[in-house]
Symmetry: C2
Subunit: 453 residues, 2 copies
């Protein structure tokens, strides 16, 4: 009885899928200059991104070749397995078939290297010697440390001080891969110094770390900045996941009725979903799309679709996206990768056009789902990915109640080896759910810029 | 250019290889009763092991079928990849080809579930409801927690108190998989109570934990004990690794000139090596075998081949094996899995008959090798497995110096995700090597029982 569907290396996809040309007409709005309200051109990104990535960001080509050197690095862990969760099906006593694509087999433990590797590559091709980036819990920082190491580049990671102190293991991981890891705020940048002047004991925030990393990149010719989600080209790099998965589903002899994933900035879900979304948008297949987010940061389920800044400080162009307000700061939930205030514009547009929907979960219920999954399928999932598990379980239970043999596919975006203290809290009954921070959301939503656009 | 050789599930081996019938004539000596000096029969093990495993322990059949239910669990992560370390070859500028078999993809992160799963299965088939076992750093305990969970059994893990307190993440992992984890010494067993009476603050030891777990098993009808290495049947279960690897090497179009692994009790190395050793013992192939151990616990390189107890307290039968004395306690090196005082009788006999050799390394040099490997091949290895990496690197450098294109194969038995604090110490220059504890070895060797056998 088949458990996994494995592809050999020669079936690794050679092209990424760019969903932009297939998006519903008029659904995508251009990024705007907050000063003028006019669309910004690609040149606005040139100080911190190489032209090759900027071209991908605005590309309308349906497929983009994956460079051979990137494929060689992908092959260190890709193709990743597609696993039929037969034991979970049995536990749930469901007639549904549950499949999951497992991205935790990457050396960094998540889907993030799917984009850090090409980003490092295209930067190196452009003559860049160093990448500056930020990291909260450490997942993106470790993916970028890995990628730069693979291409012989330097890497400076501005790690939010509170995580730097509380999560030393992710820091060690980045250092093993040769990155310089700094506790942000640092004294190295104007942004960092400004914060430290006001509060020498500052524990930092993702917003501050982003400002430090992008300032570092903007002020050094040999250095560029790099982002782990939200942008079009980042989502596109992740489609290697879904392109592999389509081949695997075909070998398994099934096609999903519903494609599920967790969303923070949107990249892991886009990676799995977009190649299947292509079939929906073309009218070839009827397939549903469901994304799960934390109720403590309910960007899509409770946020507003409008123009807002991509960063906390309001220094980026404005993007049309679901947002809770650019200075929304969610509570310190364990799913650190799902705490972004907004959603990728591509995901937002797909929600807006009725092509996908979203659901929000509290952290106690997602850990309950995580433990159920680990006891059935052996893998200990990341808290982020456990949102997808919870949604898949709910879907399988609905299928049982309806007596329907649906095919459920979800993305297990990473393992939980660096999240065991969160499991410990859950198992000892110390994990709390955060009340929906209505006031905070109102407050931050009030600061969304009000233009005439 | 191929990086990995992946087998599909239908190529999962269906039989384990039992090396006993192929061992050089007269090389294996029977376990003895310490009171009489007479060989012990299988019945001596019956109070704590099921008959099916005892039969495997003394079997002279060359191949033993892997039960289908065990194969189904293996398939959750097996077959594991064989990876050609091309990037490491390049870093070392060696004409040698370096292959490694990667066992870190198992949900517990090491090769250990290869035997915990069948051990749980055969116990359940014998009507056993609960497994009691011990764990030091937590690797074996987590493998057994996983295995019992897969078969719906209970699991009690006696975890050395110092590890219980210092390594809470491995404990959480076991609890996620439903095991009860106790800090040993406990007040539950006579052995535990005896220790606590003398020293209520005892930090525990592996010897004490073994005594507690085996007492628990011996005093409860529905409970058996389980061991993670050393015994013949444990080594046999691990041969699924080498049987897979032989198929993969054939697909890759190579055959190893040398097979390398780390040794603590000997099981991961035996697992990879024995199927290739079969070709050497039959005269079919000329292939070398090299095992790496820590210089802080130099069982094979500095110990004595003689009859000694398998446990610290002297309650087991006597086994003919390389030993440093049954109450030898090595310093607290980070490779916690390689701190056993003796070596599997099968490995010892192969060393004695000149079919394999061993080398010892200090922990600073193995972490240096680990970081070199992680920067080339992306995977962060376990400290235990890094002994094998160091030996493979040394071999590749020798090949470069000799201008020989040798084929090197080693077992990467696990990942280092739960060992990042050790990496942190290494990278910050705080890691120390332990001087060879000559006095301690002399002392413990003096306690090896002197029979007339």
């Amino acid at each position: 009885m088949a458990v996994k569907t494995i592809l050999s290396e020669d079936m690794l996809p050679t092209r990424w899928y760019n969903i932009v040309p297939d998006m519903p007409a008029g659904s995508l709005k251009p990024p705007l200059d907050p000063a003028t309200g006019e669309p910004v051109g690609p040149e606005a990104l040139a100080p911190i991104f190489p032209m090759s990535l900027i071209s991908q960001e605005v590309s309308t080509e349906r497929f983009v070749d994956i460079p051979e050197e990137v494929q060689e690095i992908y092959k260190l862990w890709r193709p990743t397995p597609l696993i039929r969760a037969r034991r979970l099906e049995k536990v749930l006593d469901t007639p549904a078939k549950i499949y999951f694509k497992y991205e935790g087999v990457s050396p960094a433990g998540s889907h993030k290297p799917n984009t850090s590797v090409p980003q490092a590559y295209f930067n190196r091709e452009a003559g860049i010697k160093r990448i500056a980036t930020e990291t909260g819990a450490g997942q993106w920082g470790s993916a970028m440390a890995l990628a730069t190491q693979m291409f012989g580049m330097a890497c400076t990671v501005y790690m939010v001080r509170i995580s730097y102190e509380q999560k030393p293991y992710r820091r060690s991981m980045m250092e093993v891969w040769g990155a310089e890891v700094l506790a942000s705020p640092t004294g190295r940048t104007n942004s960092g110094r400004a914060v430290l002047e006001k509060d020498p004991e500052s524990l930092g925030s993702l917003g501050i770390a982003i400002s430090e990393a992008s300032e570092d990149a903007a002020t050094h010719d040999d250095t560029n900045y790099s982002l782990g989600s939200v942008l079009n080209h980042v989502l596109m790099h992740q489609t290697v996941v879904g392109e592999e998965c389509k081949q695997q589903m075909e070998i398994a002899g099934d096609y999903p009725d519903i494609v599920i994933g967790c969303i923070g900035g949107g990249s892991n879900y886009a990676g799995l979903a977009f190649p299947f979304m292509r079939d929906r948008l073309s009218g070839e297949k009827q397939v549903e799309f469901l994304a799960a987010e934390p109720s403590a940061c309910p960007t899509v389920t409770r946020g507003k679709l409008t123009y807002d800044f991509g960063d906390a400080l309001g220094s980026t162009p404005l993007f049309m996206m679901h947002t809770l307000g650019h200075d929304f700061t969610p509570p310190g939930i364990h799913a650190g990768g799902l705490r972004y205030h907004a959603m990728a514009p591509l995901i937002s547009a797909l929600v807006d056009t009725g092509n996908m929907s979203a659901v929000a979960y509290g952290q106690t219920e997602i850990f309950e789902a995580a433990v159920t999954f680990a006891r059935a399928e052996a893998i200990i999932p990341a808290p982020e990915s456990s949102h997808a598990i919870k949604a898949a379980i709910d879907e399988a239970v609905r299928a049982r109640e309806a007596g329907e043999g649906r095919v459920i596919l979800f993305n297990l975006s990473g393992h939980g080896h660096f999240d065991m203290s969160a499991y410990d809290q859950y198992l000892s009954g110390k994990l709390t759910d955060y009340a929906y921070p209505e006031e905070k959301i109102k407050e931050s939503m009030a600061k969304i810029p009000k233009g005439t656009w």
